[in-house]
Amino acid sequence: METERKHHPEQLHYATVLHWSTLAGFIMLVATFVAYVFGWVPSYVPLERLPQLWGLPTSEYLKATGIPTGWSWLFMMGKGDFASQIGIAILSGCSIACILAIMPVYAKSRNTTYLVICALEIAVLLVSAAGVFSTH
């Protein structure tokens, strides 16, 4: 029983990568947000203007502010509201990093089934992250 109860090696590997990537995401999330709300970095949409805008549907909000969609925010990291998105992006990308990290383990043990499942999951997450289905 004891040997059966041992975790698959990829499970512990996944846990380690998840721990460090999540920690990095949370630190970025809090640090950039604090800088944003305390005005240490300028914001693209003035904070005082937000109450007039956050009640609008996304499409109208984007039109009113002129904010580009997709990955354009990466080029506007000097603005607090976009810098805050880096923590969100890291957290959203944690699963990609973890799955990529366990794929060599499956490859080494010649577990083709899970290697394919991992590849498909990565493809789904990357397609979504790349903004292939973006509407605006």
Binding site: M1, E2, R5, H7, H8, E10, Q11, Y14, A15, T16, L18, T22, F26, L29, V30, T32, F33, Y36, V37, L47, E48, R49, L50, P51, Q52, W54, P57, T58, Y61, L62, I67, T69, G70, W71, D81, S84, Q85, G87, I88, L91, S92, C94, S95, I96, T113, Y114, I117, C118, L120, E121, V124, L125, V127, S128, A129, G131, F133, S134, T135, H136
Partner: protein
């Protein structure tokens, strides 16, 4: 002999007292922020994220002992009582659900309370459909989303009331797909200290169910712990604790795909999403300690009552009856 009815009556009175307090704790910060915003000038923007932090702190406190993800409470409560558009509320809800699942993931995996081989195929199904759900969610008018969310939340409350649980379901024969995928193992029950061998059945039906769950999670931004656990436990025969842990892993992957869609479409506002995540995470830590003081079943009843209230409120808001 008389002690038990007296204790039960005390618990009932305690819950009766706690329910209005709980609802007030969630509604008051929003109402206070509303009043402050109406009376003050435009610089009162900071009142809203602060109120959001307080509400999410409280939601996090009760979500953990009740065994539901924060998203299922967050979306109807914040969508009903805060001035944010539902697009942004759902985007933040997804982030809240994902962040909670990610934070819990490492210890669940290391302690064997989650199984990656069980989670991966189901997460793949849920990830694909959650993108479809997110696409539909951002395309539908807000009132339609609100009405259907209200109905779904009431359905979740009904599921929580009626769904049975099986601590260690008995699976006599695993299905061929689960055998091919190697979904089985030995689970150590922390309370009894016994090793329990587990296997699953009805894996194809489970995959279809997780397609539906992922779609609803992406559509409403509510996460899916409420459906994952009964699906894994009652349909597929996964031991209850392992089902709860593996549900978290599925949620972390499925929410990621929908979160990317919301992020790419500008539907995640840091001013709404970040205080919610921070409040929920701190509240959840206190919630874990609450488990040692209060019975989980008592908190569960409280959450069901809050869901009923939030579901009705969301539906009425969508219908334009209670704006």
């Amino acid at each position: 002999m008389r002690e038990k009815p007296v204790r039960n009556r005390r618990k009932f009175h305690f819950l009766l007292w706690l329910l209005p307090v709980a609802i007030l704790m969630m509604v008051l910060p929003a109402e206070a922020a509303n009043a402050a915003a109406a009376s003050a000038d435009a610089t009162a923007w900071w009142v809203w994220p602060l109120a959001l932090f307080v509400v999410c702190f409280f939601l996090g406190m009760i979500a953990v002992p009740a065994g539901v993800g924060g998203g299922v409470l967050f979306v109807p409560i914040v969508g009903s009582f805060f001035p944010f558009h539902m697009d942004f509320v759902r985007g933040a809800g997804l982030l809240v659900a994902m962040a909670s699942a990610l934070a819990a993931g490492p210890s669940l995996l290391k302690n064997g309370m989650a199984n990656l081989r069980l989670a991966m195929p189901l997460a793949l199904a849920a990830s694909i459909s959650s993108i479809a759900g997110a696409m539909l969610g951002l395309a539908l008018p807000a009132n339609i989303v609100q009405i259907s969310l209200g109905v779904t939340i009431l359905g979740i409350a009904a599921l929580m009331i009626t769904a049975k649980k099986s601590e260690f379901p008995h699976v006599t024969q695993p299905d061929p797909l689960s055998v091919a995928l190697g979904i089985h193992g030995v689970f150590r029950d922390g309370i009894s200290g016994k090793d329990i061998a587990w296997q699953v059945h009805r894996t194809p039906a489970g995959l279809v169910l997780f397609l539906i769950i992922g779609f609803l999670g992406g559509l409403f931004g509510v996460g899916a712990g409420w459906a994952n656990v009964p699906g894994l436990n009652l349909l597929m025969g996964v031991p209850l604790k392992l089902a709860a842990g593996s549900s978290s892993m599925i949620l972390s992957m499925a929410s990621s795909s929908a979160t990317w869609y919301y992020l790419n479409n500008g539907a995640i506002l840091p001013i709404i999403a970040v205080p919610s995540v921070i409040g929920m995470m701190i509240g959840a830590r206190i919630g874990a300690h609450l488990l040692t003081i209060l019975k989980a079943s008592a908190i569960r009843k409280l959450v069901i009552a809050i869901l009923l209230f939030a579901g009705v409120r969301t539906m009425l808001k969508g219908l334009g009856i209670w704006i």
